[in-house]
Amino acid sequence: MTPPTATAPDTLRQPLIPPSTHRYAEVIHRLEAGGSMLPDTPENLMQIIGIYKAYAVPMDFYWRDLLYIAERVFLDPLPAFKYFPSQEYLDLPNSYAGEQSKLRIWRGGATAHPELLEFMAKGETTAMPKLLHHLWHDRINMEFAEACMEAMFWHQGMGGRFYDYLECDAYKANADRAIKAYFRGNPLMLGLYALFPEMFLEQVRKMSYYANLGLFWEVMAPVFFEMSDIYDEGGFSGVPAAMDFLVNGIFAVAGRPIYHHVYIGGECLEIIPKSEGFTWLYEAALPYVEAVFYRTAPFRGTKSYNAQAGQVPSEQADFHYGILYADVFPVGSAGIPPTLLMQDMLHFLPPYLTELYAKHKRGEGDILNQLGVTFQRSMYNVTSAVIQALRCALLYPLDDNDPEHLMANRRFFEAQMDRFIRPEARLPQIQTQDYR
């Protein structure tokens, strides 16, 4: 199957700049015409929207629990119950859904999604106490969310001011206050804190990243729910329309504050106050995309990497183990974070995707792989939206009349595509429907 070729925005006009000679020239021309890296086919649209919906439900759990951990569990030395967010957090109104939201992205409710609550009650098995669900691993895999958080925490330095702030004196003073408040009346932990202050501080920094990711996903869940609803109503004309929705979403919430508050004994301590001016776009979304889509870390279980033999890049910026590069075939092998996500999404697939998977490859047998590939496609679309949003924010409109501006856009797109030249990138595969 050949993907539809990109058409110029205005076919009557002579192109102002020569065609690209980049290896992914076809994709670049599509981006320049306002398209996505993912070809515009009805099946691609169906796949990505279906998976957004399946992703949004567990994500609704992830962000609630991430905030619960960051704000309530905090420095608990034995956080055995950190995956059991309190009812308060399940009812926490989403800032972008429900009646109370100032900017309503999803027309649905503000508290935990009904499908999520149903799954939490029953799981794959049957209704039983949540501790048994947890031990039987019949639950939402928060380990995946933590793996994403750790990728952001470990890579750091990917733009934004968040990372620098964690090292500044104001942050340390706030953290110190929170640590002392949290362990008030606990001489053992306070003694340890006196002996190893950096260790505790590092834990607080990690908690700040929990909050960061939680606040990031709080936005993405309603965005994906709304996209699914629009699709069900027949509202998307194609993949570019779905991408544009994401681009607009990115702009709409770009200024959303990123902060870290901790609640200790009924008191709210601001470790990262909103007044620091940290924004969703710069301090959460862009680092998230870089850390999780592009970089992450080699997954244990698929292959033994020998760092001494240069099999792992020496520069963190060269890491390329994210979903855009991932080999989804080993999904299902031991200890791989994507397996956990695929398993989570499996529970919430819309019927049209279940039908689609049953028709291809091994049907039910390798559904986790198939939905992994779909997820890869959908994340290429999200990345396209990020690239277009950045182009929109930092460069020029696609219909600009100045050739120099168009060349600047071209250079930007080419630089982005350069990241997919390495052989692990799945960009060439997602151009066809055969990759499943």
Partner: protein, 498 residues
């Protein structure tokens, strides 16, 4: 009656099949009937007192339809029936020319069954030769790209083996004092003149050595096993190779015990050489089927050493090994066939990641691992019992040869690990991989064999229990110790030497 049925059922089947329409599913079901009946009858005969059947056929040349089931024949007959049964089951649904295929399969069955049931050397010879023809055709018609060459080599070696056997059997009969006779009972009682007995012995050992095979008579084996289609390889390795071991046991040890004692150090040496040669070759193979073929050759070496030892326990080990090896190698070849059918390749460098739970062949590879572990003699699986018996019993008479075999057996783990590291682990190639999953009809023969491999490991009586009195009667050396009786629960106190 049972004896006759064992022989007649496949013969009837082989005759009937060519008359049926060329419809694969029908033919397969029809072929299953005699195989299944034969297997059931064989099972029902296990543990019964020896039964015999005498029917004069051509008395002028000494040929008689003398059939018998004793502790030696019965388990082997059951094994043959089982191997034929799983071979039919394992035949792919799109088998080309199924009529001819199943017919030849059952013809081979007749020959094999006739050989282990025969109580007359001439009848044995006939059956032995009968096996060669259909197997050659099975090899020549269905197989890899070099199947013609493989079939030619196979038939040449087979003919040489047959000629040697012909010479040996005729000499046995004619040199048998007053009035020639080929009846086993007479042959066992005779005394050959020393000079001629050397020659007869040499002919017999040559014949069965070619069949087993042992180094340096193995030239046909890797090629034949490597080129044969999987069901045929199952039949050859699991069924036909029995003939060599059984022949040595019955003829060389049974009829020429003094010669056997005389030459046994040399035979043990050949066995050790075969074991080492097979194992070392298996390590360097890049074709999985050839790897399994050489592995099988290595295990035949151990069997020869145990035969050379000829103590009650070692011979029990031999029979157990014939059964265990039959089960394991049939399983291995079936699984290799599945890998080839699904991936289109059995070249180790071309495969990787087959243990992948969703897109690989986890079931096939999982059983492959089990079969290789059984082959390496891991306790709890069928390969352990015979290997342990044979090692312990051969150690006193031939320590060096046994040690070599032990090391060679250890190499099984080496090539198994190497194979698994390359084929099982690593990454599936995203661009190439689109393997269909195995279906239950393909899995069933493997599951059947694998469960027997496990049961045989947990219940050694299945492998050694039926043949103890027969092998004890054939033993030429005494057991210097008795400690091992414990591992074979069914072994009775009778066996403890006085």
């Amino acid at each position: 009656m049972a004896l006759l049925l064992l022989l007649l059922l496949p013969a009837l089947g082989a005759g009937l099949l060519p008359l049926l329409p060329e419809r694969q599913r029908l033919l397969r079901r029809v072929a299953l009937v005699p195989a299944l009946l034969q297997f059931t009858i064989g099972l029902s005969q296990l543990g019964h007192p020896p039964s015999e059947l005498h029917q004069v056929w051509l008395p002028r040349i000494g040929l008689a339809l003398d059939l018998g089931l004793d502790g030696l024949s019965a388990p082997l007959a059951v094994l043959i029936a089982l191997i034929v049964l799983v071979t039919v089951l394992a035949t792919p649904a799109d088998q080309a020319r199924p009529r001819l295929f199943f017919s030849l399969l059952l013809a081979t069955d007749v020959g094999l069954m006739g050989a282990v049931l025969a109580r007359n050397a001439l009848l044995f010879l006939l059956a032995y030769e009968l096996v060669l023809i259909p197997t050659t055709l099975l090899l020549a018609v269905w197989g890899g790209p070099r199947r013609a060459q493989a079939a030619i080599q196979y038939v040449m070696y087979g003919a040489a083996s047959g000629l040697a056997l012909l010479g040996g059997v005729l000499a046995l009969g004619w040199l048998n004092g007053d009035g020639f006779s080929f009846a086993f009972a007479d042959l066992a009682a005779m005394q050959l003149p020393t000079g001629s007995s050397h020659w007869v012995f040499a002919l017999l050992v040559l014949s069965f050595g070619l069949k087993l095979p042992v180094v340096p008579l193995h030239g046909w084996q890797p090629l034949a096993y490597g080129q044969a289609s999987s069901p045929v390889a199952m039949l050859l390795s699991g069924g036909v190779s029995i003939l060599g071991g059984y022949g040595l046991l019955r003829f060389a040890i049974g009829f020429l015990p003094d010669e056997w004692i005389l030459w046994s150090p040399w035979i043990a040496g050949v066995g050790a050489l075969t074991a080492a040669y097979g194992a070392l070759n298996a390590i360097v193979q890049s074709d999985i089927r050839r790897l399994v073929a050489y592995g099988s050759l290595g295990h035949m070496g151990l069997l020869v050493v145990a035969l050379a030892a000829a103590t009650p326990l070692s011979l029990q080990g031999v029979v157990a090994q014939l059964i265990a090896h039959g089960l394991i190698s049939a399983l291995l070849f079936h699984l290799v066939g599945l890998i080839e059918a699904k991936t289109g390749s059995i070249q180790i460098p071309e495969l990787a990641g087959l243990l992948n739970p969703y897109r690989g062949l986890p079931f096939t590879l999982g059983l492959f691992l089990l079969a290789l572990m059984a082959s390496a003699g891991i306790p709890g699986l069928a390969g352990f019992v015979p290997e342990f018996l044979m090692f312990e019993a051969s150690w006193t008479p031939f320590p060096v040869a046994t040690l070599l075999c032990l090391i060679a057996s250890g190499f099984t783990a080496v090539y198994a690990v190497r194979l698994f590291n390359r084929v099982g682990f690593g990454r599936l190639d995203n661009d190439r991989v689109d393997y269909p999953a195995t279906v239950w009809s393909e899995r069933f023969p493997a599951v059947l064999l694998a469960s027997l491999v496990v049961v045989g490991g947990l219940w050694p009586g299945l492998l050694v229990g039926w043949s103890e009195s027969a092998t004890t009667a054939l033993a030429l050396r005494r057991e210097p110790f008795t400690a091992l009786v414990a591992i074979a629960p069914s072994a009775s106190p009778r066996q403890i030497p006085s």
